[in-house]
C-alpha cells in the first residue's frame, strides 16, 4: 500500500488547482464544519433552484485529501437534484467504508485508496458531511441556510 494509492494524480490535480473554490452568490445553503481532531475547516455553499444544485462552491483550510475531495465533490453534485446529491453522498460514504465503487461516482473513485488509510477517511468525508448538513434543511428544493455554520 504505497503513497501512490493515496495521492492519485487526479487528486493532486484537484489539490493544486481546485474547482469551484470560493462562495456562491445568493446561497440557499452555507455550512462550515471543523474536524476537531486535526483542525481542518471546510465551508460549502450552494444555491438550489427548481430542486437542483444550480451552483456550489467550497472554501477552507485542510490537507490535500480534504481539499481535493471537496473540489471533486463540487464537480460531482453541480446540476444534480437534491435527491441525487444525497445519493452521491451515500455512495461516497460507502466507498470510504471499503465498499465497491458505484458508477455514479465517476472520477471520485480516485479517492478509493483513502479507505485503506483509516485515519484519513475523515479528511475525505468532511466536505461531504458539510454538504449533507446544508442539504438537511432543503425542502422542495430550498437549501437550509445556516450562515456561520455548524461547527
Amino acid at each position: 500500500m504505497g503513497l501512490e494509492d493515496l495521492y492519485r494524480e487526479v487528486i493532486m490535480d484537484h489539490y493544486r488547482s481546485p474547482h469551484h473554490r470560493g462562495r456562491v452568490e445568493g446561497a440557499t445553503g452555507d455550512v462550515e464544519m471543523l474536524n476537531p481532531t486535526c483542525g481542518d475547516e471546510v465551508r460549502v455553499s450552494f444555491r438550489v433552484e427548481g430542486g437542483r444544485l444550480a451552483d456550489v462552491a467550497f472554501d477552507g483550510r485542510g490537507c490535500s485529501i480534504s481539499m481535493a475531495s471537496a473540489s471533486m465533490m463540487t464537480d460531482a453534485v453541480l446540476g444534480k437534484t437534491v435527491e441525487e446529491a444525497r445519493g452521491l453522498i451515500a455512495a461516497f460514504r460507502e466507498l470510504m467504508q471499503g465498499g465497491a465503487p458505484s458508477a455514479e461516482l465517476g472520477d471520485l473513485v480516485a479517492l478509493q485508496g483513502v479507505a485503506k488509510f483509516p485515519v484519513r477517511i475523515k479528511c475525505a468525508t468532511l466536505p461531504w458531511t458539510t454538504l449533507e448538513k446544508g442539504l438537511a434543511g432543503a425542502v422542495d428544493g430550498e437549501g437550509g441556510v445556516r450562515p456561520g455554520g455548524v461547527r
Binding site: Y7, C38, G39, D40, G62, C63, S64, R120
Partner: protein, 405 residues
C-alpha cells in the same frame, strides 16, 4: 550514554514500519516502554496482584506495599517532602481536573485564574469549566513572537487566586520560568500549579525548589504505562480540599446520609487504583534515574538542536518556538504541504511524527496555522534518526512538488 545499549532496552524499536524499524519521533505524545517496565507490570500481576488497603491476606499486603512503595518512589523522583503528597490519578489531565474541582470550589465571581495562551487543552478546559461554575475569569500571560512569556505583562495581581502554567510547551518547546511564576503567584496571595507533563521526562524537577503548590504529570510520557499519572500537592492544601470523586477507599466512616473522609492522599483515590500502573511507573523512574536525568537531558538537547538547525536550513520549512534553550521537541510546517500530508509521507519513510493542533487550538490561531508537524525526542533517539527526518521532509517536498497555497 550508550544509545545502542539503551535502544536494546526498548523492544518496540525493532518494530517494522513499511519495511524498516520505526523511527519514533512522537515521544511528546507518549514514550515507549523499556523491558524493565514491562517486566515490573507483568511481575506485579504474576506474583503480587490483589486489591490494596482492604485485604487481610498475604497478597493483599504485598500489593499494598508495592503500591505505597511506588508512591514513595514518585515522591523521591520529584523531591516531594513526603509520599502522602503524591496522589495517583490516571494522567496529567485528571490531576488538573482534580485541582480545578476540589481546590477550585472555593472560587467566587470576580476571582482570577492566570494561564498562558500555549496551554494544552487539559490545562485550559478544566479552568474554563470552573469559570462557568464560579463566575471566576481567565487571564493570560501574553506570549511574545519568539514563543517566550512576556512576564512584565503577566496579569498576576490582587484578584489572582491561582496561576497554572505549563513547564514546557508541547508545541513550542518553550520552557517557562516556573520558580519566578511561583514567587509572583505567592506574592499576590495566589497558589501556583505546574503542568509538568512535558518536563518531568526530560529534566530534573524539584517541587520544593520550585515551590509548586500543585504539580501534574503523566506516567506514560515518562516511559511508564498508560493510565497512571501523578498529582503532587502541598499537604496543607490537600488536607483542606474536599474530595474529587466519591467511592470506596476515599472514606473513613460512612453512614447512610453522610460520611467522613480518609486521610490524604487516599481521600482523592476513590475506587480500586491502577496498582500495576503505579508499579510500572516506579520501574520507569528507576530506569530514568539509572540513565541519569542530566545525561538524558544533554543527549536530548543535542538531538533537538540538531533538528532545529537542520529544519531551519531546509528552504520552505518554518520552525516554531524559541531558539536555544527549549524542550525536547520541534514543531514545524513545510510550505505547500499540509502537516497531515507531510506526516503521511514521513510514515512511508518509517518516521513517526505528530501532525495536528496538538490539543492547542488557541496557540495554533496565534501562530496563524491550522496545524503543525512535531518531532519530539527521547533518550533512545539518535542523530541518524534526526537526519532521516530531514531526508524524509525533503522527499515530501519533492513528492508534492511546488504546491501553491
Amino acid at each position: 550514554m550508550d544509545i545502542a545499549k539503551i535502544r536494546a532496552d526498548f523492544p518496540i524499536l525493532t518494530e517494522q514500519v513499511n519495511g524498516r524499524p520505526v523511527i519514533y519521533l512522537d515521544n511528546a505524545a507518549t514514550t515507549q516502554k523499556p523491558r524493565s517496565v514491562l517486566a515490573a507490570v507483568d511481575g506485579y500481576y504474576e506474583h503480587t496482584n490483589a486489591n490494596v488497603h482492604r485485604a487481610i491476606h498475604t497478597l493483599g499486603e504485598r500489593a499494598t506495599a508495592a503500591y505505597e512503595a511506588s508512591r514513595a518512589r514518585v515522591a523521591r523522583f520529584i523531591h516531594a517532602p513526603a509520599p502522602e503528597t503524591i496522589v495517583f490519578v490516571r494522567n496529567a489531565s485528571e490531576a488538573l481536573n482534580l485541582v480545578a474541582y476540589a481546590w477550585g470550589s472555593r472560587l467566587r465571581a470576580g476571582d482570577e485564574i492566570v494561564l498562558t495562551p500555549m496551554e494544552h487543552h487539559s490545562n485550559l478546559i478544566p479552568w474554563q469549566l470552573l469559570c462557568k461554575r464560579s463566575g471566576a475569569v481567565l487571564r493570560f500571560i501574553p506570549l511574545r513572537d519568539d514563543g517566550t512569556l512576556d512576564m512584565e505583562r503577566a496579569p498576576i495581581g490582587a484578584r489572582t487566586k491561582i496561576v497554572s502554567v505549563t513547564h514546557a510547551s508541547n508545541v513550542l518547546g518553550t520552557l517557562t520560568p516556573a520558580a519566578e511564576l511561583a514567587a509572583r503567584a505567592h506574592a499576590a496571595g495566589a497558589i501556583f500549579m505546574l503542568d509538568a507533563a512535558q518536563s518531568v521526562p526530560h529534566m530534573p524537577v524539584d517541587v520544593q525548589a520550585l515551590d509548586c503548590d500543585f504539580l501534574a504529570f503523566s506516567g506514560h510520557k515518562v516511559y511508564g504505562p498508560m493510565g497512571i499519572g501523578v498529582l503532587y500537592g502541598k499537604r496543607a492544601l490537600l488536607e483542606e480540599m474536599d474530595p474529587f470523586l466519591g467511592g470506596g477507599e476515599m472514606i473513613l466512616e460512612v453512614h447512610l446520609d453522610h460520611a467522613t473522609w480518609n486521610d490524604v492522599p487516599w481521600k482523592f483515590e476513590a475506587g480500586t487504583p491502577n496498582v500495576g500502573g503505579a508499579v510500572g511507573l516506579a520501574a520507569a523512574l528507576d530506569y530514568l534515574d539509572g540513565l541519569g536525568l542530566p545525561a538524558v537531558a544533554a543527549h536530548e538537547r543535542e538531538l533537538t538542536e540538531a533538528a532545529v538547525n537542520m529544519l531551519d536550513e531546509i528552504p520552505g520549512v518554518t520552525v516554531y518556538g524559541p531558539r536555544g534553550e527549549r524542550g525536547a521537541l520541534v514543531s514545524f510546517t513545510v510550505e505547500g504541504i499540509h502537516p497531515h500530508d507531510l506526516s503521511q509521507v514521513l510514515d512511508e519513510e518509517s518516521v513517526a511524527v505528530r501532525a495536528g493542533h496538538h490539543c492547542c487550538q488557541p496557540l495554533m490561531r496565534q501562530l496563524g496555522v491550522v496545524a503543525t508537524a512535531r518531532a519530539s525526542f527521547a533518550c533512545y533517539n539518535t542523530l541518524e534518526e534526526v537526519e532521516a527526518l530531514g531526508a524524509a521532509v525533503r522527499k515530501a517536498q519533492s513528492f508534492f512538488g511546488s504546491v501553491p497555497h
